[in-house]
Symmetry: C2
Subunit: 450 residues, 2 copies
């Protein structure tokens, strides 16, 4: 069994920290032996899941957990429409993009119709968000002839060799590229009243200047448009415009990483960047795109892809396969027919308001923020100094797990509860979540005071 203590990963299982029971211990040991030392589990006492339905995950003992952390199965686990689409297509044809096929074209038309006001003109498909960001970087390099990259200080964009070099949230043991610059996350809570837009623009300009001082010009600024791993920081509508203008002025592209906020999660639009009234050169997407089926992709302007397309053909055996495309079309159908964007707004407000109201009796709640079905709850040991309270955050996450509610944490200080329920979460389920957080905070503080 690995004895690694992972100081970098939020909410990682740490062997020996809690009694997990004999059966779970045996499974973990078997897993360590079979999958090796690079894999991690979540929670002090990892879950052995056997079934999913709607917002629920069910473990091997039949216990039900409300899954408000999973923005992959964003329509709920095993959504019948997606299951049906996959089963129909997998029994008919599973093949690649070197043949003509209608479903990929339907998917492209549908996705491009979500951005009619922009110059985004083409869909390209990958299997993972990491591949999408990796391909975005390849295209940005070809388009600009440059290599520099600007990201936020706790950004996560993926795990390929290139992308891990601009994913600082992987921790200090994973080297950043010499061509990568970090800018502070745009946190209103920690801005001391400064104008967030001005500050972020200046930070990006300074990063561009620093790259240039080292003989490197920028290929791209890439941001998750709700800054998930930085602590869920949607920020005011429009505040990104200055930074985007700055990167464009310096000759670089702006890449909107919509892997987390995309597909209606913000409750306002299909994509997070649409809050900012700007056109990215490239939009990357992933997680909820197939409600669990591996599919991800990019929307690109003609300008961003033209030279890459001419010189460097793109083929990915599994990407754009007929089955994954059928799943993605079913996801779009469901978002539309179940009116999930509007639902995400309403239920998201209820969730945020409910948690915000807990601040009256829980001093640890420093900030409650978010947009739509994406909520961040920043826990602090002192509301004046806004000191991150990592220990309480970890306790709250694990107490909630024991109460049957699954979420996790994020941010540089590991002190922000990260809540991203399936878009189908009901009002009653919101009440369960709010009550659970209320009780967990009370228990965590009393445990912390021991």
């Amino acid at each position: 069994m690995t004895s690694t203590i992972d100081l970098n990963m939020v909410n990682a299982y740490i062997p020996g920290q809690a009694d997990v029971g004999a059966e779970t211990a045996a499974t973990i040991s078997r897993r360590d032996r079979l999958l090796g030392p690079a894999y991690r589990l979540m929670y002090e006492r990892p879950l052995h899941i056997v079934k999913g339905e709607g917002a629920w995950l069910i473990d091997s003992e039949g216990r039900r957990f409300l899954d408000i952390y999973n923005n992959v199965t964003s329509l709920g686990h095993c959504h019948p429409r997606v299951v049906e689409a996959i089963c129909r297509q997998v029994a008919t044809l599973a093949t690649n993009t070197r043949y003509l096929h209608d479903t990929i074209l339907e998917l492209a038309e549908r996705l491009l119709a979500t951005v009619p006001e922009t110059e985004l003109a083409h869909l390209m498909l990958t299997c993972t968000g990491s591949e999408a960001n990796d391909l975005a970087y390849r295209m940005a390099k070809v388009r600009t002839g440059e290599t520099g990259i600007i990201v936020t200080e706790t950004a996560y964009h993926g795990f390929t060799d290139a992308v891990s070099q601009f994913s600082p949230s992987l921790g200090v043991s994973v080297d950043l590229g010499a061509h990568v610059r970090l800018v502070p996350a745009p946190s209103a809570y920690h801005a001391d009243g400064a104008d967030l837009a001005d500050r972020f623009t200046r930070d990006v300009e300074a990063a561009i200047a620093d790259l240039k001082r080292h003989g490197i010009k920028p290929a791209m600024l890439i941001v998750d448009t709700v800054f998930t791993s930085d602590g869920v920081l949607p920020g005011p509508s429009g505040f990104l415009a200055g930074a985007v203008a700055a990167i464009h002025k310096a000759g670089g592209l702006f890449v909107a990483d919509e892997v987390q906020p995309g597909f209606g999660r913000t409750g306002e639009h299909m994509w997070g960047f649409q809050r900012h009234r700007l056109t990215p050169d490239i939009v990357t997407m992933g997680k909820p795109m197939g409600n669990g089926q591996p599919i991800a992709g990019l929307l690109v302007t003609n300008d961003a892809v033209a030279r890459f397309g001419r010189d460097s053909r793109y083929f990915n055996t599994f990407a754009g396969n007929t089955v994954s495309c059928a799943a993605a079309v079913a996801v779009l159908d469901t978002i539309e027919q179940e009116k999930l964007i509007a639902h995400a707004a309403t239920i998201g407000d209820q969730l945020r308001d409910g948690i915000a109201a807990l601040a009256d009796r829980h001093e640890a709640i420093g900030d409650v923020r978010g947009v739509g079905m994406f909520v961040g709850v920043e826990l602090v040991s002192n509301r004046e100094t806004r000191e991150p309270d990592r220990a309480t955050t970890s306790r709250v996450v694990n107490i909630l797990r024991d109460k049957g509610i699954l979420l996790s944490a994020c941010a540089k200080g590991h002190n922000v509860l990260k809540i991203r329920p399936p878009l189908v979460l009901s009002s009653e389920q919101v009440d369960m979540v709010v009550q659970g957080i209320d009780e967990a905070l009370a228990e965590a503080m009393s445990a912390g005071a021991d």
Copy 2:
């Protein structure tokens, strides 16, 4: 519509070269508009496929094509066992590796049982072969502290930013890394009687020396163990041992890229490297692993992964998901229960012998080679000089397509027919293929003589 003429990609559709008919032209035009300029189609007249069954693909007009090019759906299109496994699992649970789940452990046990004689100890999962090779390189860098890479001159290992830099078959417009060295493909046909093992070993040693002369030490030698894109060059059993010893002596890892030869295609073993009685430090796999479902992965020694595992946790949202793992287990079941490795040997021999017999009446056939269900047919304009005949090869591929048989070409000279049928190909289907190639060669030569 793109007007690119792709000189780098073998068997690419080139707009305007042939009359494709109004309906296909309209679909291609719609596709170019929606997917942009980086996508390519195959054949002079691209196929619009709507259904697959067994070894057959069926187009939108109901025409049936014998698919002997598809080593993804290696059990045949829409194999009922895999369809059933996917449909059962997708309706039950589709989730990730941060929870405990039994199927991924079963998959790991089954795959590790295929290499009992080696030190390969752990399975890691990705979604694509490119991701597997990208992760192999990340681990090789961490393990060795070095960056150098040696590959063959027309190798293809994938499309990520890092992997495209060591995939010379992508063409001259995609830059190789400064840390990458190419060695000649180990072709017995072009060896002029030289010892293939000695020559390949010396070439790898020279590449190591050249890297060192430039201040770079090798992290890895990576080869497709049947050298697919180099022209299908399985070579004599054991000939790789010297090159592997050389890279180990220089401190680098040996990575066996089994994306093409893996899962029994060689008709001898589960993996291509097993022909050579050696243990890779890392084995990468992909294409046929889920019979079309996106899943790929790596087998790694404890030594190769230990430090990476400690410092750089690995998580990939979709990789190792329960549905893809269920598909992969069904693939292993099917290979075993339908005795497909033995079948690949028998039918592969029949296929190779049948094509080899055609050499008596077709001067263009310079060499017929392969192992199991992987056959390369090298076409030359002169048997003495062994001059590659790219034009005839292209004609043969497209004539066969018109006859209802799908294959493609490969190698530096674009002059090797690449034949990799589903492992379930029948003896009667082999007869169809041999007869088709016979007729196509006759037509191609008569057209070429016009």
